[in-house]
Each structure stands twice: as C-alpha cells, then as structure tokens.
Amino acid sequence: MCLNPNEHSQNPSHFEDSDQQIAHPAHRDLAWADYRELIEGMTFFDPHIHMVSRTTDDYQAMRQAGIVALIEPAFWVGQPRTGLSSFKDYYSSLVGWERFRSSQFGIKHYCTMGLNSREANNEPLAEQVMEILPLYIYKEGVVGVGEIGFDDQTPAEEKYFRLQLELAKKAKLPVQIHTPHRDKKNGTERSMAIALEHGLDPSWVIVDHNNEETVKRVLDQGFWAAFTIYPFTKMGNERMVKVVEQYGPERIMVNSAADWGISDPLAIPKTAALMKMRGIPTETIRKVTYQNAIDAFGKSGQIDLNDFGDDTSQQEADKFHGNSILRGGQQLNPSKDSLVIQ
C-alpha cells in the first residue's frame, strides 16, 4: 500500500485497534535483504523504541543491522495501570531488566522518564506518580523527561505536562514530546507554545511523531523534529526521504517507536538504505539516523560514545568485575534457519 501523505490524519493511532492494517497489507517490490548492503558498516541510534514489548529476535536483528544504542521512552504499556506499584516496577525495568537485556546484545540502552499523557488523565494516580518521578529522573542513563505531552488534550494532560517541563528544567534534562495522533497540528503547536512559556530552550526539546504538516513550524521555532517510521499510522520511509530532501539534515532525526503494535524495529536501517538508494549523501543519513539524536539527548550528559560498540556488555563487565556478565555459551546468534536447536 502506498501511503498517501494526505491521508495520514485519518489513520488510527498506533495504539488503537486497526482493521485497516489487515485490509491493506503492505506490498513492496524492494526486498530489505537485497538492499541492506547499502548500509554496510553504518551505525545507527534509535532514539525512540519500546523494547519491553520486543523479543530477543528483534534485539539480534537490530544489532546485526547496525543499531548500537537506543532510547526507550517511558510510555503506556497498552493495559492501563491501576496502581503506583505498576508504574514503579515499569520505571525500574527501564533502568534495570531491560537495560540488562539490551546489553546482552551489545546495544547500549538509555531511557527517558515521564508520566505519559494518556495516564495523566487518571489524576489520583498521576499525583502519586509525580511524587516518585524525581527518584528516577536523576538516574544514570536517563537522557530526558519523556515521552510527555498531549493525547486527548485534556486539562489534566496539560497540568502534568507543565509539571514535568518544570521537572526537566530543574534536572537539566532534555524533553521528549509525544504529539497527539488526533488534532495533531493544534496539539503540536500547543505543546511547543507551553514549552516556550515555561522558558525551555527549544534546542533542549525534541518534538516527536512529526509529519509533512508539522515539521516546518517545529524547525522554524528551533526545536528538534523527530519522525517516527511506523507502518500505516505514522510516517512511511519514502515520505521520510522526501522530507529530508526538502529540509536537509539539521535538527531532524528518525526513530521507529516500535512497540506492541505492528511496527518495525529496523525502521532506521531500512530508512537509511532507502535514503542511500535515493542518492541522499552519507553524511546527511548519518545525521538523521545517528548523530542528531546523540547531540540532542546528549545534552543530558548521560551519553558516552565509549559505551557503544560491538561488545559493550563485555567491556562493562570487564571494567567492573573482571569476568563476563554473559552466561558463557549463550550464543548471541543461533541459526534461525536451522531445524536443530542445541
């Protein structure tokens, strides 16, 4: 299905049931396997991906495709939370278990911490979450407050958005703004106006889930513009190529936002290959798929390029204990094509 750029606003959000996804299967003549050599040797940074919903197969595929680091924003997990402990355990998993899981595949895992806009509407719970949030935002590897912003654009959402902007200012952390799926243009404008009203430097704010209709205003006001390559409901990567052709690489970054819906953890390497194929300069590709995200979220002081690499987990383990954190014998790349499982 070729996405019509004018139709995106009618598409369902990625967290809603979508029969359309089944009704319009994607079809492309270009096979990823035929084009992946175009990005041979390139490294990528995915600044928005929800790994708690992904499998070890995804981690392996991501590493093989050149992804060396990622950011997992705190978000809604699909099932609404009913108590503070669910939030606490989720936040802890972002800096605990998921961080470890990622390290096993040589991918450096960062996160942003925040109360998402959907659950900001459960005010009694939101109040409690705001009390524990300061415990998490100062943690090692927390590169921002996010993803926060608007969903329905209710007064409660605005209240907690503003409170968290103040928190980010106090902690000297960048902000990752989730822009709404419905009434996106207004929601994006409103998010930026509020951020400026709170005195945030737009170069510390990443406005996410942009499209052709929102990007100009975001860039003109000095914010970072992130684009989510997500089948059916957000950007397609052919459209992304056109955006980069039109606006160039400055302050633009690409992410996958892969989560528990039909999404693609290889969105960035695939988009890079497509850009390469369409003749976009390598340096431009590097900026939008790697460097810009590091420059933006690196303002947190929490990103150290020395932590990236083929065997990050091994290096860290060596540093701290002189022995491997990997269970020896665990093959990181067992053959998926083999009938035999050893």
Binding site: K88, G96, L135, Y138, E140, K319, I325, G328, G329
Partner: protein, 293 residues
C-alpha cells in the same frame, strides 16, 4: 557503624578522587536524608567513570573490625562512593535507615543495586538484609548477581546452608567462576557435593560440560557415588577433567579415592608434586553450554 570502616573507605576515596569530587561527597553529609538518597542516585553525574586503584593506599588503611570486610577489587569509583554514602545515611537518620534502604532497593537501577549489595557486609543489622540478598541471587541481571556472588563476604557470613547452596549452584549454572565466591571452602557441605553430582549427570546427558573446578567442593564428602563421577572424569578426553578428579581424590580422606588415583600414576605424581593445583583450572571465561564434540 565502626569508625574504622568509614575511615578505611574514606582513605581509599581520597586517594582516588579529585578535590571537586570529594568535596561534593562531603557536602552531601550536611544535607537531609532525602537529599543524601538523591545523591546516591545522582552520583554518576558528579564522579568520573574510573576504576578504584588500591595499590598506593594499602599500607595505611585502618584494620577492618572483627567479622566485617569489603573486598574493593575492580570497583568503579561510583560504586565505592555510593557505599560510603549509605553509611552516611545511617548516621544521619538511624531510625528511618531501614525504610530508606528499602526505598533505594525498590527504585534502584542496575548500578545502584550493585552498590547496595556491595554495601551489605558493612551495613548495620546485617540479618535484616537476608531477603534482599537472596533476591540478588534470584536476579538474572548479571551485574546484580555478581554483586552478591563475586567477592562479597555477606553470603558466606549470613546465608543459611540452603541459601548458600543456591548461590553456589546458580554461580555454576551461570558459568561464573566459583573460586571468586568468598568463603567457598569454609561453607562447603555434603548436600552441595551430592547436588553437584546430580547437576553434572544432567549436563552430561545433554552433551554439555561442567566447569572442572566445581569438583573441588566434593573431596571432604567423597563416597561411592562421587567416586563413580571421579572415574568418569578420569576417563574424560578433556585433561582439565582428569586434573579435577585427581585433585579431588588426592584431597579426600576416603581410601577408595586413593586407590582410584593410584591407577593413574602420572596424574598422581603431578598432583602430589604440586605440578597441578586447583589454580590451574580456575577459569573465568567458561563456556559449558556449547555441546561437546
């Protein structure tokens, strides 16, 4: 908490920090417990990512008090300073200390958990942290498990036999080197030795191997069943397995073990002469899950 523990840690900290870093640490002690807990969390923002060196400080360090010890080996500076901050937290507010520690555990990320578990041997009321310590053994996060298992005196000093045996078995299961467990010899027991035999049989049935040094835990408890394992090891094509069996038999006071060893005169000679010792088979890079050819 003993002033010696504090002084000892502070001596090492001073030798490893810049003035700005040690001043930041000292200033945290003049704050509130909540701010001190935030300092524990935010420590990496104020400290360099370096590894603590002990060489030039070892001479002047105050003695550890009886039954209390930390092995600060290959620690990051942050890990050491966080342990020190936890001791300050106890002094600042002894009544809320347990509650504060529980809060830190409940919200900790990986490196904070490492620091918390590293501090257990020097925290007051050590028996209070038994459940937490066994939770680290249950953890599948490698660094967290290592923090309680590797060169941490707490388990050997406070774990029940069952908890200790779980720690040893999980260390082996995780392909980590058991010689880095503190108090390994002192806590060996018959139940563990026999469980190791069962474990080895499962591994062998799966075509996998067992780290040879685990057999060092069997010699005081050698019996007919374990001796059969020794015979299996002596017949192995892997020389390290033969060494392990020879060493275990030689260390044992079970006469049939000596009879068995005598059937392998070359090995017996090497073991008796000290040409082979357990240190020869203390491997840190184990890989026992790969099927044997």
């Amino acid at each position: 908490m003993s002033t010696n523990v504090q002084q000892r840690l502070w001596t090492v900290i001073i030798a490893n920090t810049l003035a700005s870093e040690s001043e930041w640490l000292e200033s945290q002690c003049e704050s509130t417990p909540l701010e001190l807990m935030t300092a524990f969390v935010a420590a990496p923002r104020h400290l360099r990512k370096t590894i603590v060196l002990l060489d030039h400080t070892e001479i002047d360090l105050p003695e550890w008090p009886e039954g209390v010890e930390l092995i600060v080996k290959d620690w990051s500076l942050t890990r050491l300073c966080r342990v020190w901050l936890l001791i300050q937290l106890e002094q600042m507010d002894p009544t809320s200390f347990s509650k504060n520690i529980e809060t830190l555990f409940d919200t900790a990320e990986i490196n904070e958990l490492v620091a918390l578990y590293s501090a257990l041997p020097v925290l007051p009321y050590p028996e209070k942290w038994l459940f937490r310590a066994t939770e680290a053994v249950r953890s599948n996060m490698g660094l967290v498990f290592d923090a309680i298992a590797i060169q941490n005196p707490y388990p050997a000093q406070h774990f029940s036999e069952a908890a200790w045996n779980q720690l040893v078995l999980k260390t082996i299961f995780n392909d980590k080197p058991i010689h880095l467990l503190y108090g390994l010899q002192k806590r060996q027991n018959a139940t563990l030795a026999l469980t190791l035999s069962d474990f080895a049989h499962e591994r062998w049935a799966a075509g996998r191997s067992v780290a040879p040094e685990v057999w060092r835990l069997t010699s005081p408890f050698m019996n007919e069943r374990l001796l059969a394992d020794m015979a299996t090891l002596l017949a192995s094509k892997v020389i390290e397995n033969q060494w392990a069996a020879a060493l275990a038999c030689a260390d044992s006071s079970y006469p049939p073990a000596h009879t068995l060893l005598a059937q392998h005169p070359d090995l017996e000679r090497q073991v008796r002469s000290g040409a082979i010792s357990w240190t020869n088979i203390e491997f840190n890079d184990l890989n026992t899950y790969v099927p044997q050819p």
